[in-house]
């Protein structure tokens, strides 16, 4: 832009040689052919107007604008000369994978990428609380971990299915997931019930004269001598103490009330005499 007025400046105002400049000086109102600019606004283009076009053959051909080749343009290579890409498997070494690798736990037992929808749908109903009440803690704990691992597998497969748009199977997977969650809920329910039962039993045992929670494991429950009057007075206490006895044996002894302790001292004296 800056060069345009500079280039025209001598032509327009300081043209000394030509006679036009004298004429224009004498009669400035007369329009002259050469010295006066055709328009007062300078043109945007800096290229001189005497060239109809430049000699650049590749004018307008741009990689950025993806114009493609111009007419009759030839390249040094043809499509046939292009190298053929080698498949990735040819030059990559195969990595041996351990059969017992921990990450196989995120896949199915056959170590396939995905379980089919039919395989995911092949399951029964969830475990009920009624069935789980009679199970031991070890059983419930193992069942919980089976559930956790299966849910992890389903989450892994769901991501594969979603990202790669593999197809159907989301419904079956969700159904299975929901069943597993119901089982987990039942396990928690059974354990919570068990905890409350245990807590209530401990409260009862604290006030039971026949139970000593501070004693050694085998001496926690020492039944009194059989007395029909005592039995008729408090049959419930005896029955409860018997039922809770095996559970209490595992627990640590805890502090007891003073009333309870005095009762037990009395009993010890009786036994000694």
């Amino acid at each position: 832009m800056a060069t345009a007025p500079l280039a025209r400046f001598p032509k327009r105002n300081c043209g000394l040689s030509s006679s036009d400049s004298v004429l224009s000086f004498l009669a400035p109102s007369l329009p002259t052919a050469r010295s006066t600019p055709r328009s007062s606004v300078s043109r945007f283009s800096t290229s001189s107007s005497q060239w109809a076009r430049d000699n650049n053959k590749n004018r307008g051909v741009s990689e950025v604008r993806a114009t493609g080749l111009r007419k009759r343009q030839t390249l040094h290579v043809t499509v046939d000369d292009l190298p053929i890409p080698i498949p990735k498997e040819k030059f990559t070494t195969k990595i041996p994978v351990d059969e017992n690798h921990g990450l196989w736990g995120f896949f199915n037992k056959e170590k396939r990428l995905l379980a089919t929808p039919d395989e995911d749908a092949a399951h029964g109903r969830a475990w009920t609380v009624q069935e789980l009440r009679s199970k031991s803690w070890e059983d419930l704990h193992s069942l919980w971990w089976v559930c956790v691992k299966d849910r992890n597998r389903l989450a892994t497969e769901k991501i594969i299915r979603d990202t790669r748009k593999i197809g159907y199977g989301a419904f079956e997977s969700d159904e299975r997931d929901q069943t597993i969650r119901t089982t987990q809920r039942a396990i928690r329910h059974a354990l919570t019930e068990r905890w409350y039962t245990w807590e209530e039993a401990r409260k009862v045992a604290r006030n039971d004269p026949e139970i000593d929670l501070n004693a050694a494991v085998r001496e926690v429950y020492l039944p009194m001598d059989y007395d029909p009057e005592v039995e008729s007075d408090s049959p419930e206490t005896e029955a409860e103490a018997e039922t809770i006895e095996p559970e209490i044996a595992e627990e640590q002894p805890e502090s007891e009330t003073s009333e309870n302790r005095s009762r037990k001292d009395r009993r010890a004296r009786e036994v000694a005499s």
């Binding site: 990595i95 041996p96 994978v97 351990d98 017992n100 690798h101 921990g102 990450l103 736990g105 995120f106 896949f107 170590k111 396939r112 990428l113 995905l114 089919t116 929808p117 039919d118 704990h141 919980w144 971990w145 956790v148 691992k149 849910r151 992890n152 989450a155 892994t156 769901k158 991501i159 594969i160 299915r161 748009k165 593999i166 197809g167 159907y168 199977g169 987990q184 396990i187 928690r188 354990l191």
Partner: protein
């Protein structure tokens, strides 16, 4: 030597997913974990649940895009905004390499062809290009029918509007 935590969690509720990422080396594995999970949590979890020994762990929380209304909304409102919960990814370094299992030979059990076809149809249903294409196909079919009719290849018949009622008791004489 890697140290583990001492807090005993008997009934973990976290769901962890293994994610395939092509750019990672075979000794690395990427997981999608709950937002509450820490690196130490993941290390303990992987070792005690899967017997997987991990070295270093990298963690990354991916913020999700804002979208119009909740995903379960039947008619999404334009003036309501909803941002899904962020996703936490962790990459662990393992002592042994692991390569993902290969793709199955056939996607037939998942009905992939039907699924993709239906997805494509659903995606392009309301697009103007699809409407133009459908209109053009209809016009071409109509032109073809007209041509066949004019050339005498086919005979015009009225379209049966009502079902043809067959008389069942035609043979019975009253």
């Amino acid at each position: 030597m890697v140290r583990f935590g001492r807090k005993e969690v008997y009934l973990p509720n976290a769901v962890i997913a293994l994610i395939k990422s092509e750019h990672l080396p075979a000794t690395h594995a990427k997981f999608r974990v709950p937002l509450t999970f820490s690196k130490l949590d993941l290390r303990d979890y992987l070792f005690h649940a899967y017997g997987l020994r991990t070295d270093k762990i990298r963690s990354y929380v991916q913020q999700q895009r804002v979208q119009h209304d909740r995903p379960d909304a039947t008619v999404p409102q334009q003036n309501k905004w909803f941002r899904p919960k962020a996703i936490k990814h962790m990459t662990v370094e393992m002592d042994k390499p692991f390569v993902w299992p290969e793709d199955p030979e056939s996607w037939e059990p998942w009905s992939k062809e039907i699924y993709s076809q239906l997805q494509d149809d659903a995606d392009g249903r309301d697009k103007p290009a699809t409407k133009i294409k459908e209109a053009r196909e209809e016009a071409q079919t109509l032109a073809k029918q007209a041509r066949e009719l004019l050339q005498g290849k086919k005979r015009w018949r009225p379209t049966p509007v009502d079902e043809v009622v067959e008389e069942v008791d035609r043979d019975v004489k009253i």
